[in-house]
Symmetry: C2
Subunit: 226 residues, 2 copies
């Protein structure tokens, strides 16, 4: 399936590489291809610059946000949550209409330092904001409650015995994303309900960042025991 | 240990009964003893009225909030989160000074219907509000992320293989609460850090209520797999 992964950071890179490995035609979308391909510095997490990653993944295309989204059947939002609505507007509503959009972004607010709080929460969520702004796109929130390294390879860790959540208004879109997640190795996929349940999934982040501090690693996951 | 459990609802009843079973001297504190002992109706969850429960637990005292707190070494806040600060003010700052206060309450806002949102979240929490209002009391947030039935008997469920969180500024107070939790059967107790980490623990509630809907039961729990 032709898939656009919007965002060149660690989440975008990780998701894009896995999708390509699974045989999908993957294009990474970025605001300015020249700028992305001219990067020479490691990011804030110590990851290598984008061109280095791209050279290791010659089967993955790089295009503008709108070209990537326009050519795709399914779009992944792996952009910075604070800029996601703007990035999707640049991608173009017409390039998103009718499509499934897997939204992984978290609306993290780093303006008050570490650990981050949320830019939107409690009575609204980024998932809902995106769904309201793009009413003809089928938003599915998923994978935002864990480290990128676990998103695409849950079985590397605790034998895959942990949980991923889905939120969205469109059952077919959630089925499409659930199938993609199962192809990543996910066994325990819980459908929380409509897109308003993204509030719950995004509000997991404050305990996630504190757990990362308490456990001194991002390599942990939530399992819903029942 | 003389313990006051403030609140006569299902959480208060469940915690008080367990503490008494473990040999502690337990007093349930309520705003008006006469009113509580005159109740004849089941609550919104179908639980029997308080006097019926009290008759089954003759070893557990019933007193005003201030009398209960004044006589206790450790105080449990099992009041409705929306009224917790007020209830603790009625209990009296002088009756709480220097004591460990285990805060189980969640600041749930039912004003917009079900499922509830939170009255305070993201950049503050009920745990922090209580700590600020009672600076000489040692607040420990715990047990607020699960059904009351699991709080006091974690091993009844999945062999106890799930997680409880602690937040608080005072390490000795957290050690006291952790010991109490272990006496309930808890094996996996994670200390999230200072009382600001109560934001994370309280912000779990929005996904908790949605999971209760999706799974059609409150009998599930979070396990931090690592």
């Amino acid at each position: 399936m032709p898939i656009a992964v919007l965002g060149t950071g660690p989440v975008g890179q990780t998701i894009a590489a896995k999708l390509a490995e699974l045989g999908h035609e993957v294009t990474v979308g970025t605001r300015d291809v020249e700028v992305a391909m001219a990067r020479t510095e490691v990011d804030m997490f110590g990851n290598p610059p984008f061109p280095e990653w791209q050279a290791q993944h010659p089967d993955i295309g790089v295009a503008t946000l709108s070209d990537a989204a326009g050519a795709a059947e399914l779009v992944v939002n792996a952009t910075n949550g604070a800029g996601s609505i703007n990035a999707l507007e640049i991608a173009g509503e017409e390039n998103l209409t009718g499509k499934v959009l897997l939204d992984i972004a978290n609306p993290l607010d780093f303006s008050q330092g570490m650990p981050p709080s949320l830019l939107v929460s409690n009575t609204d969520s980024l998932g809902e904001q995106i769904q309201r702004r793009f009413p003809d796109t089928r938003i599915v929130k998923a994978l935002n409650t864990m480290s990128a390294y676990l998103m695409v390879d849950p079985k590397q860790f605790a034998g895959g015995d942990h949980t991923v959540f889905l939120s969205g208004n469109d059952d077919d879109a959630k089925a499409t994303v659930a199938e993609l997640l199962r192809s990543f190795g996910w066994a325990d996929v819980i459908d929380l309900g409509d897109i308003t349940t993204a509030r719950g999934a995004e509000m997991v982040l404050p305990i996630w960042v504190r757990l990362m501090g308490a456990l001194d690693t991002p390599m942990f996951q939530f399992k819903i025991v029942r």
